[in-house]
């Protein structure tokens, strides 16, 4: 293990092109993460077409750096503008902004940056230690186990997505249906193409992702009324903290990082849930819970350590099993597929250089993020208030040229526009986009495994219940789906019992 990591790091740090890509990726990630309205998913989807020209190692180095940077960048606007750059920074805003507004913006930023770095490192340690053993375990998974695992991942993200569970399920099923048109890989027959030749190879994942993440956000930005926000001045110097200023929170740092990592590992759940859970835990364990929401250092540390730890955690199921740990991981699966790489246990045997490059990139990007945030948080805060009349046209032009250049296809550009409008309408009608994207990515995996499982069992669908892993996954999925009903039943019984007792 150590040899693979060391050689990957040596290659990445000594190859100027790869090192430069990582620096660019981390910086653009931080800037995009800091600009409200733009997201890491959007940046990574937009950058996918460019990575087609790169070696797979360079491609994953760039994309993972963007991932790490974008999760961290939201801290800047959360602390200085009271606007979370991303949903994962909402909890940070509650405490970092009051500290900054109270005259200590550098302390607010510093606590968040140091916590992000520690969280990122803890997540990376888990990534380094657990990915290979999990991939060895995953080699024992049968097709039914994989099918059940993918379904559990979808149900999990449906249950934690914003909005109602019904809408989450609809979005997930719709995403799965988008993956269906084209040539059926098992029988070789065309299906759901409507006689359209351009649909025979199915919807390419890139225009769908760019449409759903970038074009839909362009439409949202175009309707946003406020152009400018007031930034709290931090000065342009580096944001250093003395060791005792942050190290005294070591218990909170480690607990939040561990929680973030575990939540990141769970398929489908991303940084926002990680930060909320860790924030709640920090408040529960705090000696001064009343300070939370009013400028608590513990709140900033819990939220930032956790959301950065989810990155390493979320990469574990992606690399080891091929199941996306978050929406950005779903996009990364698309990036690997574009390079003819199939994430999952076989990646360790067939493309071990890419696996170690991903793990090394996560560590290097965390270090780069720390340095960049320490020295550049002040100037980046000024960039974060870029007016929409610059953002909207520029992002639109990049979407069009990027999607076109991937396959030299104007059809892909129209597909992107169609899915952009669909993504906007779905969001406007409060359908979460995360299940849509996860459904799109896991549908081919789920269908292929279901069908090969049925082929192996001679068509006996009940064979799935003879596989313990599959049974555990299906029970977990059923409980998650039925939980709202069970909870309602319990609460109505409790209410009735209390009412009777009172009468």
């Amino acid at each position: 293990m150590i040899t693979g990591l060391a050689s990957a790091m040596a290659v990445m740090l000594t190859t100027p092109w790869t090192a430069a890509l990582m620096l660019i990726g981390t910086l653009t990630g931080i800037i995009v993460g800091a600009i409200p309205g733009l997201s890491g998913g959007m940046l990574i989807a937009l950058s996918l077409p460019i990575t087609f020209y790169f070696h797979p190692v360079d491609a994953v180095a760039l994309l993972i750096s963007m991932y790490v940077g974008s999760v961290s960048g939201g801290l800047i606007t959360a602390a200085l503008l009271r606007i979370p750059g991303a949903p994962a920074n909402v909890m940070t805003t509650l405490d970092a902004y009051p500290i900054a507004a109270g005259g200590e913006p550098r302390r607010a930023l510093g606590l968040g940056i140091y916590a992000s770095f520690v969280g990122g490192l803890v997540g990376w340690v888990a990534l380094y230690l657990f990915t290979e053993p999990l991939s060895v375990l995953a080699l024992r998974f049968g097709p039914f186990d994989y099918f059940a695992l993918t379904m559990t991942a979808l149900v999990l993200i449906v249950t934690v997505s914003k909005g109602t569970m019904l809408k989450g399920l609809i979005a997930g099923v719709l995403g799965m249906l988008v993956a269906i048109p084209g040539i059926d890989p098992s029988s070789g027959r065309l299906r759901l193409t409507g006689g359209q030749h351009w649909l025979e190879s199915g919807f390419d994942i890139l225009p769908v992702l760019v449409g759903v993440f970038a074009i839909s956000q362009v439409i949202v930005l175009a309707t946003r009324h406020s152009d400018h926000a007031t930034v709290i001045e931090t000065g342009l110097g580096p944001v250093f903290l003395r060791t005792r200023q942050w190290a005294r929170h070591w218990v909170n740092l480690l607990r939040s990082s561990a929680l973030g990592t575990i939540i990141g590992i769970l398929p489908g759940i991303g940084a926002s849930i990680g930060s909320v859970v860790s924030y709640a835990a920090a408040k529960a364990f705090s000696r001064t819970p009343e300070r939370f929401g009013k400028g608590s250092e513990e709140g900033v540390i819990a939220s930032e350590a956790a959301n950065n730890a989810t990155v390493g955690g979320a990469l574990i199921p992606l690399i080891a099993i091929g199941i996306p740990g978050s929406v950005i991981d779903a996009i990364l699966i698309g990036a690997l597929a574009a390079h003819s790489l199939q994430p999952g246990p076989l990646l360790f045997t067939q493309n071990v250089d890419v696996v170690w490059a991903m793990i090394a990139a996560c560590l290097i990007a965390n270090v780069l993020m720390f340095i960049a945030m320490i020295f550049l948080a002040g100037p980046i805060a000024k960039l974060a208030s870029v007016p929409r009349h610059y953002l909207v046209p520029i992002v639109s032009a990049f979407c069009v040229v990027g999607v076109f250049a991937a396959h030299n296809s104007m059809t892909d550009v129209w597909v992107m526009l169609g899915f952009g409008v669909l993504g906007y309408l779905l969001e406007k009608a409060e359908y979460p986009l995360a299940p849509f994207v996860i459904g799109l990515v896991i549908a081919p995996i789920a269908e292929a495994n279901l069908r090969s499982g049925l082929m192996a069992s001679g068509g006996d669908a009940f064979e799935i219940f003879r596989h313990p892993i599959a049974v555990v996954c299906l029970i977990a999925a059923a409980v998650m789906l039925l939980w709202p009903l069970i909870a309602r039943l319990f609460s109505s019984r409790t209410f009735r019992a209390r009412s009777n007792g009172e009468v």
Binding site: L166, L177, A397, F404, M410, K428, E430, Y431
Partner: protein
């Protein structure tokens, strides 16, 4: 949805409350429209999938998975439509819809025209992109004359830069006239 708008001392609803109520009612209509559209899509997919011939080589052919997904989509969208319809019925009377914010329509139309002209192939890529960047930027800046020079400079540099990078570095032929 069914909450009454906040009222001023004279008993009339506040302007902000009325604006929010308008937007909520418009969003509910959009929700209903999308739910019905998805229901129709689910039914069509289920019908098409049901007609697919079974496979001779495996227990389930290409049809059952889209059939199940189509049925699920139709049923769940019908439930969502019913939920939305219930909340629409409970809307207070006398509220009328207003025209939606024009910005999004203008921006989507601008991108569609940009792509259509690009596909038509009568304008050079860099010229078309510079014009698109400048015009949409100025539109969003409410044609502020102070924005013409910075937006123009950004438009030209970006358009020429993108064309250079994609044609010279990535060796990709961009659409448009040459």
């Amino acid at each position: 949805m069914s909450a009454q708008p906040e009222k001023r001392p004279d008993g009339l609803p506040t302007l902000e409350a009325v604006r929010q109520a308008y937007e909520r009612s418009r969003d509910r209509l959009l929700e209903l429209g999308i739910a019905l559209l998805l229901m129709g899509l689910g039914i069509v997919i289920a019908i098409v999938a049901a007609r697919m011939p079974p496979s001779r080589f495996e227990p389930i052919g290409p049809g059952p998975v889209p059939l199940i997904l189509g049925i699920l989509l139709a049923v769940m969208s019908a439930l969502a439509a019913a939920q939305t319809l219930r909340s629409l019925v409970r809307m207070p009377e006398g509220w009328r819809l207003r025209a939606p914010d024009p910005h999004r329509l203008v921006i989507v139309s601008a991108i569609v025209v940009y792509v259509a002209v690009m596909q038509w192939g009568v304008v050079r890529y860099d010229v078309l992109t510079a014009a698109f960047l400048l015009l949409t930027g100025l539109y969003l800046a409410r044609f502020d004359p102070r924005q013409i020079v910075p937006m123009g400079a950004i438009a030209v540099v970006l358009a020429v830069g993108i064309q250079f990078v994609f044609t010279q570095v990535f060796v990709t032929a961009l659409p448009g006239a040459y």
